[in-house]
């Protein structure tokens, strides 16, 4: 589904990503892990076109996505969340979701000259978004401003918004960071359900228990290069992985 080869990205001298290659298989849930600063978020920024790579190839379903604008990549069927929650704070929860999908009323000509059609489509989309809110369990917050929700609720809105995009490849940057165990189970269920519905998920996560639970494949990144790829069990035993984490002195595998 996604194929990345010899990717490279420098920021003012530092090599954030170097010679990084990996695949994401169709309909899988894959984890991208690694110490802080390993370059995980940068990989997401590269895939979604927010920053330009210096070298390397990226193919989605066989066709290159190099040089495409973010909105064009989204329209191919790739969507993402952000490490820090990013909703539209002054819009309602429902409006946040409604923005996730293309709407014919976003075309100004339609908005002015085809009000009936736009209204009909709006009603349909609102119903669908309400179902998604129900799915993640916050339908009672539909008309609240996003900024007024709690941290966990905002995280759920972000996931619901990703669902609303109808994307096939979903990139999640730390979906359960700072989330309580109950909510974490809930998010896990949602992800499993998405997989059943045919979606492919690539997620960044520091919580190894969560990764062991939901992912069938793990890619370990260190200093911008993949140092191990395999099942969660395999990579946990990999010597280089242990070194990367322990040598870095950061959070990670110890004790899990």
């Amino acid at each position: 589904m996604l194929r990345i080869r010899h990717l490279e990205k420098r920021f003012a001298g530092i090599r954030a990503i170097q010679d990084c290659s990996f695949d994401v298989e169709d309909n899988s849930i894959t984890a991208l892990i690694g110490p802080n600063g390993a370059g995980k978020t940068t990989v997401f920024n590269l895939i979604t076109g927010f920053i330009r790579q210096d070298k390397g190839k990226m193919r989605y379903n066989g066709s290159s996505i190099i040089g495409m604008k973010p909105h064009a990549i989204t329209n191919l069927g790739i969507t993402r969340t952000f490490q820090l929650i990013r909703l539209f704070p002054k819009l309602t929860v429902l409006e946040n979701l409604l923005l996730a999908e293309h709407h014919s009323g976003e075309n100004l000509i339609n908005a002015i000259f085809r009000p009936q059609r736009v209204k009909r489509e709006e009603r349909k989309k609102r119903r669908r978004c309400m179902l998604l809110l129900k799915l993640v369990g916050i339908e009672d917050k539909a008309d609240s401003l996003a900024e007024n929700l709690s941290y966990g609720q905002q995280k759920l809105v972000e996931i619901a918004r990703v669902l609303a995009t109808k994307a096939d490849l979903i990139l999640l940057d730390e979906p359960v960071a700072g989330v309580n165990p109950k909510m974490r189970r809930h998010i896990k269920d949602v992800l499993k359900r998405l997989q059943k519905a045919g979606k492919t998920i690539l997620l960044i996560e520091h919580d190894m228990n969560f990764v062991m639970d939901v992912c069938e494949k793990v890619i370990v990144l260190d200093h911008g290069k993949e140092i191990a790829v395999g099942t969660p069990k395999q990579v946990m035993k990999d010597k280089r992985v242990l070194e990367a984490y322990l040598g870095n002195g950061s959070d990670g595998l110890v004790g899990t």
């Binding site: 989204t74 990013r86 002054k90 923005l99 100004l108 736009v118």
Partner: protein, 296 residues
């Protein structure tokens, strides 16, 4: 006498209402920091005035031409600046307004320079000439109503929702598949077009325009109307224009020399803005205020 003056005041307030509502579309709804709105106002005024004076083009055609030319300049300004990150648009629009005024002042053969362009005819539609202040007031009120209905309508559609999303967090809007540059360009072009209409209404009312009418300070006044009324509220723009233009009026009855009144007016504006920013940072009716943007 008083009535005539009130009607005159209403015409001017109406024109500023159109300016404020149109700027609100770009600034309040889309988050585009446009400091040179006055230049689009001036472009509309000069386009329709020059067409009328030199070629006898009827008012309504001149008005449409003014709107189109203003929109075109809005697009020209948008293309190089909106793709860049940060508030380049603020700089570009500010520079544009300064250049516009300078060109109008110095292109004497076309605009008659600082002396201004006299003899702009009063509008005539279907043989009826809007020569009385009363009839012009009605004309302006109709345009205020049309502007209000149009801008309110589009900001309530899914199109307007995308504008607000861009204002809130452009990066996320992009990540949701919105071609944000395109939306920003459309927003700026419509905003400029309505400013052009306001300019045309002004020119054919006063029948005389000069570059000084369209100085950058005028932009600051319009922005103040938005801040007082509230960014992102169409009704707020109407209220803001009303408050800012009516508030200094009682000063006229004070026995003070003209220059003192001018200074007092500035002081009152400054006080009012400060007060509003302290008591109601998002304006009387607003929902949004500018703040630092996050990056990826």
């Amino acid at each position: 006498m008083i009535e005539a003056y009130l009607m005159h005041l209403l015409v001017l307030i109406g024109i500023y209402m159109i300016l404020a509502m149109s700027l609100n579309l770009a600034m309040g709804f889309t988050g585009l920091l446009n400091i040179g709105h006055v230049a689009f106002y001036g472009i509309g005024a000069y386009t329709s005035a020059l067409l009328a004076v030199n070629f006898g083009v009827p008012f309504w055609l001149g008005l449409i031409a003014g709107a189109l030319v203003a929109a075109l300049f809005g697009l020209l300004l948008a293309i190089p600046t909106l793709k860049l990150k940060g508030d380049y648009l603020a700089l570009a629009t500010l520079g544009f307004a300064i250049i516009f005024e300078a060109v109008m002042r110095n292109w004497v053969s076309l605009t008659n320079g600082s002396l201004g362009l006299p003899g702009i005819p009063k509008p005539a539609i279907f043989g009826f000439t809007f020569s009385s202040t009363f009839s012009y007031m009605i004309l302006v009120i109709i345009f205020v109503a049309l502007t209000y209905l149009f801008i309110r309508h589009i900001t309530q559609t899914p199109f307007g929702r995308v504008l607000k999303a861009i204002r809130e967090d452009e990066l996320v809007a992009k990540s949701l598949g919105k071609d944000t540059v395109k939306f920003k360009m459309i927003s700026l072009a419509i905003s400029a077009a309505f400013a052009g209409i306001a300019g045309s209404l002004y020119a054919h009312y006063v029948t005389f325009i000069a570059p000084s009418t369209f100085s950058v300070m005028e932009s600051i006044l319009i922005i103040s109307m938005l801040i007082v009324g509230g960014l992102g509220s169409v009704e707020g723009s109407i209220l803001g224009a009303l408050v800012l233009l009516l508030l200094p009026e009682p000063l006229r009855f004070l026995p003070l020399p003209i220059y003192a009144i001018g200074a007092l007016r500035q002081i009152i504006y400054a006080l009012l803005l400060t007060l509003i920013l302290i008591l109601r940072p998002s304006g009387l009716l607003g929902e949004f205020r500018f703040r630092r943007k996050q990056d990826a």
